[in-house]
């Protein structure tokens, strides 16, 4: 994966190995599915759509009633955008090149955040050292989590370079 600036202006250019593109496309499809099909008691969905009031369940419900559909739509659109951009069938030289303008890049950044929130919930980033966890599955999810963080961090460095 190479993350670079665009020669023609603002935004970011991504060069992905075809395996990386396939992985990202799959993960984006899974995020979309969690948003579409996730049960209300799915803790991952709770990370994506947290309560707006800490001590007021009724106000929280009211807030969710008015905002949930639009939040889910926005998150699904971002996931679908990443899924479609990376679902490339014919690959030249084994790499997939993707150019994103500023607004498309924001969709990617928010998608990568949602992806990491879901992976963190599934793998238990906060609860370390759970012996009963499926280690192979967790290794895969953890690797995807780290990788998504690397991609997001690299994109931010291009979009928002700091002097230091």
């Amino acid at each position: 994966m190479i993350v670079a600036g665009r020669s023609g202006g603002e935004g970011v250019r991504l060069v992905l190995e075809s395996e990386e593109a396939m992985l990202l496309s799959e993960l984006a499809d899974q995020v979309d599915s969690v948003l579409l099909l996730g049960e209300d008691d799915d803790p991952a969905l709770g990370r994506l759509l947290p309560s707006a009031y800490i001590d007021d369940a009724s106000a929280s419900r009211e807030f969710a009633r008015y905002t949930r559909d639009s939040l889910v739509d926005g998150k699904r659109q971002a996931a679908q955008q990443v899924r479609d951009a990376t679902a490339v069938e014919a690959v030249e030289d084994g790499v997939v090149q993707i150019e994103l303008d500023q607004s498309e890049a924001w969709s990617w950044l928010t998608f990568l955040t949602d992806l990491r929130l879901i992976l963190a919930e599934r793998v238990g980033v906060i609860e370390e050292g759970d012996d009963t966890a499926d280690e192979t599955r967790d290794d895969y999810l953890r690797a995807a989590y780290e990788w998504a963080g690397f991609v997001q961090g690299s994109m931010l460095e291009v979009l928002d370079p700091t002097d230091s």
């Binding site: 994506l48 707006a52 009031y53 639009s70 939040l71 924001w106 928010t110 955040t113 990491r116 460095e157």
Partner: protein, 96 residues
Amino acid sequence: MTSTLEQHATNLRQESAAEVPWRTVVWDDPVNLMTYVSFVFRRYFGYSREKAERLMLQVHTEGRAVVATGNREAMERHVQAMHGYGLQATVSKVEP
């Protein structure tokens, strides 16, 4: 007389609404990158780099930061936007 009283009551309500503002609180989350949180504060609230980084560091070190205050409706819009960006945010009343 009646109208005067009603007028008075209305003024009281407006005053108390102005005295009890609401706040948007962003909570620390071990998942989100610090650079991302700071970038979101700048993009969404239009804060300077310095202010955005100060708030981000406050979230990181103190566990939370008040990123905006104002009327309840505006704070709910902010919280909705923060949730859209994947940040953990809540609305709360400023304690008297």
